[in-house]
Symmetry: C2
Subunit: 205 residues, 2 copies
Amino acid sequence: MIRYPNGKSYQPIQPIGTKKRISGESSYSNRGMTLEADLNETNQYYLVNGIAVIHKKPTPVQIVNVDYPKRSAAVIKEAYFKQSSTTDYNGVYRGRYIDFEAKETKSTTSFPLKNFHEHQIEHMKQVEKQGGICFVIISAFGSVYYLPASDLFFFWERQKLNGRKSISKDELMEAGHLMTLGYSPRIDYIKVVETLHFSDESEYQ
Amino acid sequence: MIRYPNGKSYQPIQPIGTKKRISGESSYSNRGMTLEADLNETNQYYLVNGIAVIHKKPTPVQIVNVDYPKRSAAVIKEAYFKQSSTTDYNGVYRGRYIDFEAKETKSTTSFPLKNFHEHQIEHMKQVEKQGGICFVIISAFGSVYYLPASDLFFFWERQKLNGRKSISKDELMEAGHLMTLGYSPRIDYIKVVETLHFSDESEYQ
């Protein structure tokens, strides 16, 4: 039996199509589910089973006007969405800092880099420099990929050099780690983190 | 010259009262500054100098109604403050996960435990279990203390046992690590993290 380092047994993943999955439908748009919902379920699974503590950060909001009615809760009457200067998810696995962003595309040929903005790339570079484990989870072409931040940086810099504004399907399949979707956890990205950063044959530190 | 592990030189702290500090005033309420502002400045200092990447999480808000006017930004028309289930600050230092909450009290005799709620304590326990570095920064009695989460747990559990709903001044001075306030960084909590978790004489892992 495969066990996580904390001694918890690893629950084997089930193929798409069992239980709540509708057979034959694999893209998020078709399934009526979202990448975010699947990641929240995954993080909840990690938390409950003591595998990792990873949370999605709240949506950043600029609050302009708040009403404080008597005998009831404060009501925010005017606020605006702010662009985040960091990534959406972070937390801890085996003491190490984990930081990632999740994105999906409906394009069938490539993943557009406009899904990220300069501030986020800058943040990811700072995290890598500080020894954190940083990556992006990309849902594209009917699959979900784990792309290490260092690879994203390569494509980001190339955009500046030759103007190519996307990662082609072939490139993503080559640089990314394909994740098999399961029932619970749905997107077992910690398995990839474990392989890349903690196993004996780890390519990374 | 003292250097951080990344080779950056340590900027010696300056006593309270120099530059923008008004001599003789040491509590946040008197100075017209907030603990949060000082921590934001400190985190900015760490970021710019490549010492650590720590951010305050956005305030969690439950969005109920959003207006999408033509040709201008979406306006949130109704939203409510939500209780956070985690702590306010997290990030990475030398690869390790850092997680903390900051609180201040105007009480002159003790620090009330009602500043925390069960969900936050639960989160801090999960972080500790996962090998993260977790603590609280408490501004009280004219000083700022770094209290390891494990000590906070002790006082939290005692509350359940004998009903004492606060940490006395003496107890905080005994269990907490007094931080000298500086000009930049203002509250050098990473110095305490370094001593407790990374130096040869580290009491912790």
